[in-house]
């Protein structure tokens, strides 16, 4: 282009002036999430057997098994509690789960001002499952089966 190279940039900017901006007004508008996006975990507590394979697969030790009373059997059984501050969203727990009851969903904005709120108990993960898939996941919810 040489000396007249500046005309190219002038043309480009002028062309952009009549186009729609690509910026998304984030809190009001969102880019629709992709189905394979790895965000916050979703847990189906009704399916989960507490095998701890997810906890063993986790390279960051973000998953800790906690006990909850299962109303179906009347016994205490184990469910994963996930520390989002340690999690790096690699998806190995999802691959390890033999019952497909732990999945990584599309939620990516979960910043809080306290460390405790970043530790997600199984009930919270199950609520997110219900919001996303619409199928019952909490222990108290009525099962389809």
């Amino acid at each position: 282009m040489g000396r007249l190279g500046f005309l190219k940039s002038m043309y480009l900017t002028f062309k952009q002036f009549f186009r729609k901006p690509v910026t998304v007004l984030y809190p009001e508008e969102r880019i629709p999430d992709f189905s394979r996006y790895r965000g916050i975990h979703l847990l189906n507590m009704q399916k989960c057997k507490g095998c701890n394979l997810c906890g063993m697969a986790c390279p960051n030790f973000a998953i800790k098994m906690v006990e909850r009373l299962n109303p179906k059997t009347g016994k205490m059984s184990k469910y994963p509690e996930i520390n989002m501050a340690r999690c790096m969203f690699c998806g190995l727990c999802e691959d390890a789960c033999p019952l497909d009851c732990l999945k990584l969903g599309g939620i990516y904005d979960f910043a809080t001002d306290s460390f405790e709120e970043l530790i997600f108990p199984p009930e919270k993960l199950a609520e997110l499952w219900e919001q996303r898939f619409g199928t019952p996941a909490l222990l108290e919810s009525k099962s389809n089966e």
Partner: protein, 320 residues
């Protein structure tokens, strides 16, 4: 009448609103050229954003550094703001609307403009900071280098019109605009004007990556606002000056004169914003060599060319 003009248009109220609107338009237009959105939240489509910025500057504390001279640091921005209003007084917005008119108003505009390099240098020195000092020196050398081609180009309309009165220069362009009669002078004036205003691609005095904000680095609070306001008022004033000299002032068909004047001024401003969105910054040595080695000889040659245009082309179109 004069009091109303001083207060409303082209006085205080107009200067304030136009500077705010120019800032808003600049941000919005450049944002659209960069595929962004620009100011969005304050007011409808972000129209009050610059007003909010001004209010923020009013609330902020004025900090005077230990090494700075207080009178220089606080006095110079105020003086700049006042001086930047001076060119607006003599620019004819319409054949019947101007604040003041006298036979050397072209020289008056240049007298007001030629103070700015020294104010910038004084401020850079008085701030007591190396960034401000280097910025001030750069600004002064740049503005002095470009004042010469600016003035020599501005002489050509005066020469065509046979007067140094801006009103008569604008009135003489009813048949043909001087920009079309002598386009080289118009382009030279426009580029020199960009350098004079320290705008991209000639914003070397406030090169953000090298000097923090040039000679404005140590200003804070409303005094920083003053210097920004002075810059935008000058931007409007010099665009209006350009329109008066080369684009026929208020002359134009169908629409009223003042509307033509503002349409032309807006187009000039738009081109300036456009250049800012598209062009990278020049280096200091490139900038000065462009001025002294190219623009000044061309500007002197332009005057000779202007004589030939006056002698041979103006009779063809039947006089000015």
């Amino acid at each position: 009448m004069t009091f109303i003009q001083l207060f409303l248009f082209p006085g205080f109220t107009f200067v304030l609103i136009s500077a705010l609107m120019l800032m808003y338009l600049e941000r919005k237009i450049i944002a659209r050229m960069h595929m962004r959105r620009g100011p969005y939240y304050v007011g409808k489509a972000g129209i009050l954003q610059t007003l909010a910025d001004l209010l923020k500057l009013l609330y902020k504390e004025v900090i005077v550094p230990k090494t700075a001279s207080k009178w220089v640091l606080l006095g110079v921005p105020t003086l700049m703001l006042i001086l930047s209003w001076a060119p607006l007084a003599v620019i004819p917005y319409d054949s019947w609307y101007y604040l003041s008119r006298f036979n050397v108003s072209l020289l008056f505009v240049f007298a007001a403009l030629s103070v700015f390099p020294f104010l910038g240098m004084l401020l850079g020195w008085g701030s007591g900071s190396k960034y401000s000092l280097i910025g001030g020196y750069r600004g002064a050398s740049q503005q002095i280098a470009y004042e010469l081609p600016l003035f020599l180009s501005a002489l050509i309309p005066a020469f065509f019109a046979g007067s140094l009165d801006l009103w008569e220069i604008a009135a003489a362009q009813s048949k043909i605009w001087f920009g079309f009669l002598h386009p080289i002078a118009m382009i030279l004036f426009f580029i020199s004007m960009l350098a004079e205003l320290e705008r991209i691609p000639f914003d070397i005095p406030e090169a953000e990556s090298e000097l923090v904000f040039g000679w404005k680095t140590d200003l804070s609070g409303i005094y920083f606002g003053f210097s920004i306001f002075a810059g935008y008022t000058l931007l409007f004033a010099e665009s209006a000056f350009f329109v008066t000299l080369f684009l026929g002032g208020w002359n134009g068909p169908f629409l009223p004169g003042w509307l033509w004047f503002f349409i032309k001024t807006f187009i000039v401003l738009y081109i300036m914003f456009w250049i800012r969105a598209a062009q990278p910054r020049y280096r200091m040595d490139q900038l000065l060599s462009i001025s002294w080695k190219k623009f000044v000889p061309i500007a002197i040659f332009n005057i000779i060319l202007g004589v030939f245009i006056m002698l041979y082309i103006v009779p063809i179109i039947g006089g000015i």
